[in-house]
């Protein structure tokens, strides 16, 4: 089983590299650098302090945005999930807010927060908070009513009900939400950096676009893809395990 999966990953990576090389051959050096050239350039970038300064700035913004999105989303989802009517009212509204293309709001964010860290964080959090809230809300609402009844007959206080019954029971859904929210927050922070920052990887991207520096653009894309895919893979594994465990318990 493990061996199979390793082979699958190798096949995927090799397949992507082949597709990349073919695209490179088709469109030429100026539009798309070859995998080999990109890896060489990326290795050079990784040894550059300038790159790590920007990566650090992005990481900091991402961290703040993640904290706001996760804590805020959980709080919103939990508060609305506890009350049936509040949940019914909020559910379609949250879905609408989630599906609004928030890229369009960048001028508003810029006008409100100005150029800098707070605008990036606001943009990231704005992308991530809704999926976390939606998944949490649905997780709480889908809890087996027996659990709630049991907690009531045990006379648990409200906070103990939340922390010992509701949150653990909704954990698989919440983790799915955190995974989707994580991806959305990365995307939001990067977009924020592209439009509203003077440092960070998103800022490097937009500069590479302006200068038409395809090598840098491809290296950054590669780096971001690898980081995002790794983080996503880890969260996905946790996600699958929790869902399997709760399915086994039910």
């Amino acid at each position: 089983m493990m061996k199979h999966r390793a082979i699958d990953y190798v096949l995927l990576v090799v397949g992507l590299l082949v597709v990349w090389q073919i695209c490179h051959e088709l469109v030429g050096e100026y539009a798309l650098t070859s995998p080999l050239a990109t890896f060489a350039y990326a290795a050079k970038e990784l040894g550059d302090a300038h790159f790590w300064n920007n990566a650090g700035a992005s990481a900091l913004a991402l961290l703040y945005a993640l904290i706001i999105a996760m804590v805020g989303g959980l709080a919103i989802g939990l508060a609305l999930g506890l009350n049936r009517l509040a949940g019914d009212v909020a559910d379609p509204m949250l879905i609408t807010l989630f599906s609004v293309p928030k890229v369009t709001l960048y001028p508003v964010i810029l006008l409100v927060f100005g150029l800098g860290l707070s605008a990036k964080v606001a943009f990231g959090a704005l992308h991530g908070i809704f999926p976390v809230a939606i998944f949490t809300l649905n997780g709480i609402r889908k809890i087996n009513p027996i659990y709630v009844k049991a907690s009531r007959s045990l006379n648990l206080s409200r906070s103990r009900t939340i922390f010992t019954v509701l949150l653990p029971a909704a954990l698989p859904e919440i983790v799915s939400g955190l995974r989707v929210g994580f991806a959305a927050t990365i995307l939001g922070t990067l977009i924020g950096e592209m439009f509203a920052a003077t440092e960070g990887l998103g800022f490097m991207l937009i500069k590479a676009i302006d200068e038409n520096n395809v090598e840098l653009l491809m290296s950054l894309t590669l780096f971001l893809f690898l980081v995002a895919a790794t983080a996503n893979g880890i969260l996905l594994a946790i996600d699958h395990r929790l869902h399997r465990r709760s399915a086994a318990a039910a």
Partner: protein
């Protein structure tokens, strides 16, 4: 309208009312945001004067083309990948982390290849939407009862007819979900592309108005864009719900 629906309406009206008052009494200064009524008025006068018609139609045409392309290609690829479980296992990690990467960093590359015109916008929109459609197609086909496939074999349908007559209708509720996501993602990519690099379109006009401190034009266009996207996604959302509940009954 249900009780929840009324409450939602009150919340939305209260929100815009509060925004209006805060703008009017100067808690939010005019450079940051203009009152919602003025946004509507600005939009109305622009629509009457016809000064934005060309840009709106340009963006609309590109978005429709991108959605059509991603829905069609996503469905076809979904059917193919579903028929090849081995390929699906290999590609799974790619699908799972696709949306964690800002795909539109490829937009400048497309511009280099195709020039500044509609083609790169449509392609980036389609690239953004296709995976959502593909994943929804896979989910939809997973839920098709096996007996359907068996009857397709009994009637000796060829692959094309079995895709159109059996798979398409029985996976319909999930396909609508895919279409909805494809619309959302395509709009994001097309508008973001127009922000970054374009000479026409609603995104270009918003970015231009922002740089020009022309908040009336900017907020008028934002209002138009957000209203249009909300109406489209909400209608698709309602349609999706209706299909899901009809399927659940059967």
């Amino acid at each position: 309208m249900s009780k929840a629906g009324w409450i939602r309406l009150v919340i939305v009206i209260a929100f815009f009312g509060a925004l209006e008052i805060m703008c009017r009494i100067g808690w939010i200064d005019r450079l940051t945001m203009i009152p919602p009524t003025e946004m509507a008025e600005a939009l109305w006068s622009m629509l009457l004067a016809g000064s934005i018609t060309e840009d709106v139609l340009y963006s609309l045409r590109n978005t429709v083309a991108a959605v059509a392309l991603s829905v069609l290609a996503g469905f076809v690829c979904g059917v193919i990948v579903h028929a090849l479980p081995r390929l699906r296992r290999i590609l799974d990690p790619l699908f799972a982390s696709y949306y964690a990467v800002p795909v539109f960093v490829f937009y400048p590359l497309l511009v280099v290849i195709f020039g500044i015109n509609a083609t790169p916008l449509i392609l980036i929109g389609a690239m953004f939407g296709i995976v959502a459609m593909l994943i929804s197609t896979l989910t939809g086909l997973d839920r098709v009862p096996r007996v359907m496939f068996k009857s397709a074999r009994m009637f000796q349908l060829d692959p094309l007819r079995s895709a159109l007559l059996i798979k398409l209708p029985s996976a319909a509720p999930h396909l609508i979900t895919g279409v909805k996501l494809a619309v959302v993602y395509s709009v994001i990519a097309v508008v973001a592309g127009e922000f970054i690099l374009s000479s026409k379109g609603i995104g270009h006009r918003i970015a231009y108005a922002y740089n020009d401190f022309d908040s009336r034009t900017m907020y008028g266009l934002l209002l138009l864009l957000l209203t249009a996207v909300t109406v489209v996604t909400m209608s698709l959302h309602m349609w999706e719900h209706r299909l899901h509940s009809r399927w659940a009954k059967q």
